[in-house]
Each structure stands twice: as C-alpha cells, then as structure tokens.
Symmetry: C2
Subunit: 233 residues, 2 copies
DNA sequence: GCAAAAGTGTTGTCCTTACACCCATGC
DNA sequence: GCATGGGTGTAAGGACAACACTTTTGC
C-alpha cells in the first residue's frame, strides 16, 4: 500500500459544522435547575435551548465549551466535563450539525448575571417537557450522567455554597437522584468518609435551629487512592 | 432579538472533518487484545493505528463506527459504544480533524478475517507503547472505560465464546483489570448473582479436569431492575 | 501417581438498613 | 409553648475478604 500525504488526505474529507452545547446545572430552593436561553431560530420560536456555540477551526472542543460558559455567566472556574456527541443528520433544521454535549455545575448564588435582559433563565429540570432541537434528549442524558457521577465523585459540592449544612447536602442528593434518603444514615455516611471539614460555624437566618456548616476537604480527597474494584451488575 | 433562519445560520458555521476511531478489543490466550492496522501516512510510517474512517455528510457517527466494524471484520452484530471525542487541533498531521472514539468488543474466535493480507493485527494491549496520531491516548481512555464498565455491566461476555467456563471468565476479568482475584469469591459472586445458565456441558480438549460450561442469561438480566443507589467516593 | 485445575464452606469484619427520641432555635 | 429541623445510636442482615482441602481428569 502506498503511503499517503496527510494534508492531501484530509483535504478530501467531508467537512461539517461542530458545536458544543452546555447543560449548566444549578441548585436552588431544593430543586435541580438548568440554565436555558430562548431559541433564536424561527422554527423553535418561543422554545428553550441549551447554551451552545460553534467550535472554531483551531479550537479544542473543551475550550469552546469553556468559552460558552465564560460568555454566558462571566465565570471561568466552572466544573465542566464532556458527556456525549449527538449527531442525528436532521437534529438541526439548518443542516447537518454535530454537537458535543458538556455538563457543567455551578453555584447559582455566585452567578450574578442579569437573567431578564438576555433571555437567560433558570428552569426546574423536573418540569421541562419540551425543548428546541434535540436538547431535551441531551438534557436527559446529562441528568442521568450526573445522577451516576455524584454517587461516585464529589461533584455535588460545585452546586453548593462554599459553606453548607448537611441538610443542604442531603437536599441536593435527593433533588438530583429523585429519591428520599434516611437522614441519619446519610449523615453517618459522610461522617465515616471523613471528608467534610467542620467549620465550627452555624447557619444564619434560618427559621429553626441552625445547623453546622461544613466544607469539602478536596485536598484529602485528592490524596486518597481510589478503590474501585467490585463486580456488581 | 430578531429570529434567524436555520439554514442561513448554519451556512456560516466553520466546517471541519469528523472521523470515528474504533478501539476493537478481543480476548485470547488470557490477554486483552486490540485490533490495529498499519498507518498509511508518511509521517507515521510503520506505526500502528486504530481503525477509523470519516463521518459522511448525512451519516450518524454511530453508523460510521458500525460501518468501520463491518468493513474491517465483516461482522455486523458487534458490541459498540461511544466513549469520547478528541479534538486537539494538531492531533492529525494533515490538518484539523475531530474524532469520536468508540469502544467495541468481539469474540476473536468468531472473527475470521485474513489478518496478514490487509496489515490488520491483534496486539496485546499491555505491550503497546506507541501509536500513530493520538491513538495511544484514545486506547488508554477506552481501556479505562472498559475496566470500569465490565464491573458494572455484563459487557465481558461479548469477548468470550457463547459457552465459557468460570475459569475463562475470571481470566478475562483479571486480564482487563490487571489484578488477581480470589477464585472462590469470584465464583461465589457469580453464583449469587444467578445470571449464568449451567449448560450441563463440559470443556473439551483441556489438559486437566474439564470445567462446566455456562452462558450468560441476558434475558433475566434485562428484566431485572438496576439498583444503583450508593454514595461512595 | 503426578500435575493441573475444578470445585466447595466457614468465619470475621464491615457496610447498609431500618428505626425513634431528645435538643436547640425562632417565632 | 409550639413548630421546625438538628443531632444522635443500635441492632439485624447482607456483602465481602481471607483462607485450604478434596476431586477429577489427562498424561
């Protein structure tokens, strides 16, 4: 087989637009939220869509996703992870567009944009039934991804304030997983893990007995080895 | 904000080639193998690369990956799953190419291609140190993905013959995970799961006491609900 | 009969689950 | 003082880890 020149080969490849779409989750009022924008396409007039943008010619797709987050929220240190590429040929009414979905987690309280100005709104994930493009499918995929990930990795803390109570943490897990958890067992679990730092501070302005505040010990977590063996299906 | 026409919008998006690369795993001689082809690019002369191809204009990326498998192995019912998109702007020497990595699992014994003719060869995953493009990184990512997945899902059976012994199954897990497992506990685990069908047949032509043969009960597995709650990190 | 792997049980430890009461604070 | 959620302990059951000997077959 004759060897080929890379540039000549690639020049003949079919080319198509690639975009990123960010599923930006937040947590407020004991509900899992997602940040959406009104679609600016005729076909999807009035419907909500994920925040996305094209991938530029010399740009990593991760970089494009971070750029979307920065542009829309003004925040640059947001948790972000690639989830899946979606490629149905008719998924975009304007023609073939492949998109790579990203899941990102941010603390709503840190995020100070004027949401009414630019048609950007937080929505309860549980009450969304329809979206522009295939964005409902992408949202569902990212929600399932998140449900699995928060059980295996300390991601949920990205959705909470730096200081949080055990009640808030449990509410977060219950909202994302859609189940009720036993309070004593939940607290025991985190006590056993020994990855929460007791700040010796109390909640303020709650209409009941205030709870203790904690922060997550990322330093200790990052030093501890992962124990991941266990066949179970 | 004025509404836009989809086609006009998409026409202005940057376009780039998208490819798929398949990490095709097999299992033989108690080793995890991967199917590779010699690179046909000048720059990577003599080096091995994954099996890939471009994604065509109206083709789903999943379909492109299945097409690669069909073309290279002649098999159409192979397990396949999307793993991750790789997008470094310089990952292909011929210019910007985004690739989506797929992991596929097949039973080497079912696969009858003439491997010497078309420069296609099975390689021990553990002895690969260098590959063309960023394919070593892609292979490593898929290997880690597989290590995690075989513990949570019954994927490993795709790498084994229809009928297999518990010893073969354990060898498979040990090869993929790179660890030793206790034989009694391993068998007990699968006995408790009650998802293996005892075929009342014995291994043939083994130079020692033959073991019983089993097949996996996919029907029962698919009917059983997933129990997936358990915070652990 | 010897080599090689098949097959099998018990025990201790740990984790998970289920469950109920008193306490501190705001109003 | 009452409403609200904070905070705690225990007992039972199930899962997992460690461990050794007998059996069957091919040669």
């Amino acid at each position: 087989m004759p060897l080929k020149n890379g540039a000549a080969l690639v020049a003949e490849y079919p080319k198509m637009p690639v975009t990123v779409d960010c599923v930006i989750f937040g947590f407020d009022d004991n509900e899992l939220k997602v940040l959406l924008i009104r679609s600016d396409l005729e076909k999807y007039q009035g419907m909500w869509s994920l925040l996305g943008d094209v991938v530029n010619d010399t740009e990593e797709i991760d970089a494009a996703a971070y750029r979307v987050l920065d542009q829309r929220t003004g925040m640059t240190d947001i948790y972000l992870d690639q989830v899946k590429a979606f490629s149905h040929p008719k998924r975009h009414p304007g023609g073939r567009v492949i998109t790579v979905a990203y899941c990102s987690l941010l603390n709503i309280k840190h995020h100070s944009l004027q949401i009414t100005e630019n048609e950007l709104h937080w929505h309860n994930v549980s009450s969304i039934t329809e979206m522009a493009f295939d964005h409902k499918e992408i949202l569902d995929t990212c929600h399932e991804w998140l449900q699995k990930m928060i059980q295996e990795h300390p991601l949920g803390f990205n959705l909470l304030p730096d200081k949080f109570s055990l009640r808030e943490l449990q509410n977060l897990y219950e909202a994302i997983l859609g189940i009720q958890l036993d309070r004593r067992n939940f607290r025991k679990k985190f006590a056993t893990m020994d990855l929460l730092i007791d700040l010796d501070e109390m909640e303020q302005d709650v209409p009941h007995r205030p709870g203790k505040l904690y922060k997550f010990n990322f330093e200790k977590y990052n030093k501890s080895p992962r124990k991941w063996i266990g066949i179970d299906f």
